[in-house]
């Protein structure tokens, strides 16, 4: 890009409007669709693109859906409900089997037409679960088993029909099929590329954009996949540029070099929107900020102390001041996205300092320090939130010195007393198994790390994972919320997180209610 072109862009930012508008009606022969640059804080934490290694929602989820897709999709323009993706319809054969009909004529980026063989391969040993001739790194099958703990096989019924067969009854199979980690790849491309390492940064899928180049820690460039089943992509080239400094991302947006800047902090939104031609979009995502307990800390053995800590936090103030009202205190560790499994009427323990003091008094809390481990703004407004929370706790007599840690290993380090720590929890798919069981159940990271356990919770996790009766499952989930948030607290829900993206105002793009930046034809205003 020459200086003169940049000058042109900076001096006449509005010029992008006619360029974009023209692109909507341009034939492939005269391809003047815009090329856009999206400044992100991080493209991939793991340095590769494989969704079974790269697990970060605030990095890979931005672009992954542009390259690879799932059989059952989520409505990014709605409330993330399940919608047909690479499968046009699906049905239950029995409690352990789901049959899906593939969308005919879907073109992969390498020119092949998607078949049931690609789907079976995507969930097979070579790609996902290891064993046999597979040369997958050991962590890939382990992550795959987290996504699919009881998947027995994927059967090819015919060229456009597959069956997912589970070893145990599982009502969440459709949700799992729609979740990250269940993306479909090209069998031929994978085999031709060679081993996992060769494939880990060469994704070939069916999405609206195909991979041109990935430069770890620098950029990810995608070109329009003009044979995309969902229509011709409106952008010629997408370039995700890694710009770690928030100020640099906004400066680049202002100067016209970038058209989008991600990871905008909520307290910066008003300052950014004063610039002409720039607006900030965004809102709530399926992720809650939580604080978790290590109940082996002497002061936290008594659950009344943990409940007191929950009552002491003024969550409304955090949302109103640090998030400028753009987030919310959610109804516990759940989302309306759960549909039938959503427990209506449930709330987090209300802000009640008097109740907190009484609980602490009853528990005989003597001021023993309870270390509060955080990372410096790993989460939006994390440090400021921790300061507010600590002040709330101090007001009811709790002694919670903040310990700022550099990384997760230090946060989880068992050396030195562990008290409470920051964390978050996402709804990976539309069932509480994806959140409360995934992180706090018997195989979840919190129990595996020895912070907390509860026998009834673990029994109920089994009910939730393999039960098929909606009523019983919902009852079990409601009881789990009761245990985890009131009776034997394992976490405190602070707020539902929100993400914000700054963009050039003239681009008629809509921010989905997720981390995903949907640049497919569906993501633009018609």
């Amino acid at each position: 890009m020459s200086i003169s072109r940049r000058l042109l862009l900076a001096g006449a930012g509005a010029a992008a409007l006619p360029r974009f508008a023209i692109a909507q009606n341009t034939s492939p022969a005269g391809d003047d669709r815009p090329e856009i640059t999206i400044a992100v804080a991080k493209i991939s934490n793991s340095g590769v693109l494989d969704p079974l290694r790269e697990q970060s929602s605030n990095a890979s989820e931005r672009w992954l859906g542009s390259i690879q897709e799932t059989l059952i999709a989520r409505n990014q323009q709605g409330r993330l409900e399940r919608v047909p993706g690479l499968a046009t319809n699906w049905r239950r054969i029995d409690e352990t089997t789901v049959e899906l009909s593939l969308r005919p004529g879907v073109k992969l980026h390498n020119g092949d037409t998607l078949t049931a063989e690609d789907v079976a391969f995507s969930f097979g040993p070579e790609r996902m679960f290891g064993g046999g001739r597979s040369n997958l790194p050991a962590d890939i099958p382990a992550v795959a088993r987290r996504h699919w703990p009881h998947l027995a096989r994927v059967e090819v019924v015919d060229r456009l029909t597959v069956r997912f067969v589970n070893a145990t009854p599982d009502v969440t199979m459709e949700g799992r099929i729609s979740a990250g980690g269940s993306e479909i790849c090209s069998r031929r491309a994978w085999t031709e590329n060679g081993d996992w390492q060769a494939n880990s940064s060469k994704l070939v899928g069916t999405g609206p954009y195909k991979l041109r180049e990935f430069r770890p820690d620098a950029s990810l460039t995608l070109d329009a996949h003009d044979e995309y089943w969902g229509g011709r992509p409106p952008i010629k080239t997408l370039r995700f540029l890694e710009v770690p400094e928030a100020a640099s991302r906004i400066n680049g947006l202002r100067s016209g070099e970038y058209q989008f800047a991600c990871d905008v902090q909520p307290d910066a939104i008003d300052d950014i929107e004063v610039y002409p031609g720039i607006e900030v979009l965004g809102g709530l995502v399926l992720n809650h900020r939580i604080i978790t307990f290590d109940k082996h800390h002497p002061a936290l053995v008594d659950p009344r102390v943990r409940l007191a800590m929950a009552h002491a936090i003024d969550g409304r103030s955090i949302v109103d001041t640090l998030w400028d009202g753009r987030a919310r205190v959610p109804p516990g560790l759940q989302w309306e996205f759960y549909g039938d499994m959503f427990v209506k009427g449930w709330t987090v323990p209300p802000y009640d300092p008097a109740a907190a003091r009484e609980l602490l008094n009853d528990a005989g809390y003597d001021g023993t320090p309870i270390p509060y481990r955080i990372r410096k703004d790993y989460y939006p407004e994390e440090t400021a939130t921790a300061e507010v929370v600590t002040e709330c706790w101090k007001l009811v007599g709790l002694n919670t010195p903040i310990e700022v840690k550099e990384n997760w290993a230090q946060v989880l380090d068992k050396a030195g007393p562990r008290g409470v720590r920051d964390w978050s929890n996402s709804a990976v798919f539309d069932d509480p198994v994806s959140s409360i069981v995934n992180q706090h159940g018997p195989n979840g990271a919190q129990q595996q790390d020895g912070e907390w356990t509860n026998a009834e919770m673990n029994t109920l996790s089994g009910v939730l994972e393999s039960g098929t009766d909606v009523g019983k499952r919902k009852q079990a989930f409601a009881r789990m919320l009761q245990i985890c948030e009131r009776e034997d607290p394992t976490y405190i829900v602070l707020n539902q997180n929100a993400v914000f993206t700054a963009k050039r105002r003239e681009l008629p793009w809509r921010q989905p209610p997720s981390f995903f930046l949907d640049f497919s034809p569906r993501g633009w205003e018609s």
Binding site: P137, S255, E257
Partner: protein, 310 residues
């Protein structure tokens, strides 16, 4: 001379070994790469598998011995993030870093030395004060502040230059100026001090008293004698060519060794960090070695001392 060189070389090798050992211990004790690369939400089985695969479940001394023996065999290991050889990852970033560092070094020399000499020759004048005020500002303003100020002016307000990235030749200008101004300020200060010290020496007065033109005194007597302390600083600047642009590369999203180092340290990607440290330490040691040798060239007394002659 040979003994002088051998002593310096032995000390350099020891320095590199100490740097590598220290970095290994600190990095391994301050974070688990498995948790950092895979995130704390990853299944415990996956984290265990990752640790086993990379030998992170072995005692620290075993890991260190394996690593050290591999280095002796020329194997600098692989990145735990993507499995690629660490050396290849680092080497492919060096040209980007040198694209900033070499012009920045030239800028430092071109601005710093003449400014320092000029200020010394006009000691206590208004020009001297102005030059030194600029020099102090140059090396006291943090590079990320200076970089952002330059971006606001030249990218956001004037729209003349890109605010970051590495897409065109013009992307180089702001990071080079940011790097160059800081170093130039430091160099100007040291050059001025060295020149002032030399200009106060009796042999300068003697040369002037003998009627030697002032320009010739400065060129023939002052500048060569002021070169030794200046060469020390220049050696330091050359030594930090690779490591000196970490902050600037982050501010300007420049895909060089500095950015790689930040990411590798954050992920405790040991092989990559160690590879960069080896490179940085080697560059620094080599620069110091050359400076030491230049001392001997500039000042025969030092060379004779090292050789044991009195």
């Amino acid at each position: 001379m040979l003994r002088f060189f051998a002593l310096r070389l032995a000390r350099s090798v020891l320095t590199i070994v100490l740097v590598v050992t220290f970095a290994f211990v600190v990095l391994r004790l301050s974070g688990d790469p498995a948790l950092l690369i895979m995130s704390p939400d990853a299944p415990v089985e996956a984290i265990h598998a990752f640790r086993h695969e990379w030998g992170l479940d072995q005692p620290l001394y075993v890991q260190y011995l394996r690593y050290f023996l591999a280095i002796l065999h020329g194997d600098l290991g692989q990145s735990m993030r993507d499995g690629r050889p660490a050396l290849a990852l680092v080497v492919e970033r060096i040209p980007a870093t040198l694209t900033l560092a070499v012009p920045a070094l030239a800028l430092k020399l071109a601005l710093g030395i003449p400014a320092g000499v000029y200020a010394a020759l006009h000691r206590n004048s208004l020009t001297d004060r102005l030059v030194m005020a600029g020099a102090v500002a140059g090396f006291t303003v943090p590079s990320f502040v200076l970089g952002l100020l330059l971006v606001l002016l030249f990218a956001v307000q004037l729209g003349w230059l890109p605010s970051g990235g590495s897409d065109s030749w013009s992307s180089v200008i702001l990071p080079v100026v940011t790097l160059g101004l800081g170093g130039a300020g430091m160099l100007a200060r040291f050059t001025r001090s060295a020149m002032l010290e030399v200009l106060g020496q009796p042999y300068i007065r003697t040369a002037s008293a003998k009627g030697v033109p002032w320009r010739a005194v400065v060129r023939g007597h002052a500048l060569p004698n002021a070169a030794i302390p200046t060469v020390t600083i220049v050696g330091f600047l050359v030594g930090s060519l690779i490591a000196g642009s970490v902050v600037v590369e982050s501010v300007f999203s420049w895909p060089g060794v500095g950015r790689l180092l930040v990411v590798a340290v954050a992920n405790r990607d040991l092989a990559v960090v160690q590879c960069i440290l080896l490179l940085v330490a080697s560059t620094m040691v080599a620069a110091n070695l050359i400076v030491d040798l230049l001392y001997g060239v500039f000042d025969p007394r030092l060379r004779n001392q090292a050789a044991g002659a009195h």
